[in-house]
Symmetry: C2
Subunit: 286 residues, 2 copies
């Protein structure tokens, strides 16, 4: 934590940030980037602290990116609170907040996209068809504007993190991607900016997600032969449904390539479900 | 021209070049990149000379990129002659040749692509459906490996140059794209590595491409009201067909957005045609 929390600078212009970052580069300074959509919480704070520890300059981007939301999704209501976010960033040790307006990021409608046709329509992508091309394209933009040496992302968005790592590898971005462990509430619920959409009752019930995944993992560990992915899915599904949740998908995938897993070795549970109107995602390594 | 032509260094590893470029960046050196597929000619030399004049370091990449060729195209027979190319690069003032093997550029099959769904299936893209996604993706890779301040491309590949400029603008690459005039043989034929596929007779006949475009442009200029795009196309088509060429497409497009032009104001002729088995492209601003 940084004591001198007043120094944080808010930059709104992509050109101004790029100029600043180029200057830092030419002075041999290392830059850490933490891309966010704001409404910052403990999970983001852990990323910012990690970056501040390992880089000369830490930039937090705060941008609710319209191109990664579908027409019926929560773009309009996604929480925006720059003042509180700035305080958290400063306390966690960031130096710069990059908070552009949509018009500055998209002065013209985007024609050029970065996408991953092999993985972008699976899992979350099946239900959010424009999401991952929107994410990869805006992350490529943020990389090119901020010119970081390292960029920090939460493992919570597991498929997103995988796609970003793959993009960096495939397109040779000169950036190291650091994934950080999901931070959870005491109940086990993964901390997310979207949790605040829920009523206290829904929020309590949503702890069944983690409970279900843990039960599945324990069942798996207790046996000499692994349970099949289908059996694990049933265990989790039951737990979430009993708590009143509605499953969107549960998949067991290989950790390394995100393809459907045949056994539970090196596998990860990925899931999305609804509590009330709130869509939640989570994951657990088996 | 550079007298000391022996100093040129050939780098084959993407990681080694990226490391070198990062070092140059941290020392405040400017880098110019000239991406090529080798078989270098006067057109390339003009780009290299321009870069050498305006940057501390000039990198020429020589890579016949498999992902931008269709299954029935000339990937296997595209001319490769690194030794002669190295000589031309050195004489024109380059410092580094980046000549990776396909395996080094694509250690795994590419999953992440850069593409422009608005423009990649028009004109050349109509007949080469995978071409422009292959081009944009490999150029993004070359940019991220070479980390140039400026990159130089010939106007000859007019649609390609437009798509690359759009990519840089859309994805905020910190790079200035410089387009350089098409260099022509005395006959008017645009210089291209593919010209050597042709017999002397075909090569002579192919001068009808430029002659046709010039005739169309003159007709247009001589009138107070512009000719319609269709009339211009007919003039060019007739000239090329009379010389034995086979038209693939002729389009009159707006210079700024590459959309079909309604008048000839700020318009460009784009065309592709065959002489024998050789596919040639050309363009002329009206």
């Amino acid at each position: 934590m940084r004591k001198n929390a007043k120094e944080i600078k808010i930059i709104k212009s992509p050109a101004a940030l790029q100029k600043f970052s180029k200057k830092m580069q030419a002075h041999g300074k290392s830059i850490g980037l933490v891309p966010t959509m704001g409404a910052l919480h403990k999970g983001h704070a852990s990323l910012i602290e990690m970056s501040a520890k390992n880089n000369d300059i830490t930039i937090v981007s705060i941008f609710v990116n319209p191109t990664q939301f579908g027409a019926n999704e929560d773009f309009a209501i996604y929480p925006r609170r720059l003042k509180a976010d700035a305080k958290l960033c400063a306390t966690a040790g960031a130096n710069i907040i990059f908070a552009p307006e949509p018009q500055a990021m998209y002065p013209l409608p985007l024609q050029t996209f970065v996408h991953n046709p092999s993985l972008e329509h699976l899992y979350c992508g099946k239900y959010r068809p424009v999401h991952f091309a929107g994410v990869l394209s805006v992350v490529a933009k943020l990389f090119n504007i901020s010119l970081p040496n390292k960029a920090y992302f939460g493992e919570k968005d597991f498929q997103q993190l995988h796609l970003i790592k793959k993009m960096v590898q495939d397109l040779n971005f000169p950036i190291k991607i650091i994934g950080a462990k999901t931070i959870r509430e005491k109940s086990g619920l993964a901390i997310s900016s979207r949790n605040e959409y829920m009523s206290p009752k829904e929020r309590e019930a949503a702890s069944s997600i983690y409970a279900g995944m843990i039960t599945a993992k324990k069942c798996c560990k207790g046996r000499s032969t692994c349970l099949l992915p289908t059996e694990l899915k049933n265990i989790i599904q039951k737990k979430i449904q009993q708590a009143g949740g509605k499953i969107q998908y549960i998949e067991i995938v290989n950790k390394n390539d995100l393809m459907p897993a045949k056994t539970t070795k090196n596998a990860v549970i990925l899931l999305a479900c609804y509590f009330g109107k709130t869509r939640l995602i989570d994951h657990l390594e088996l």
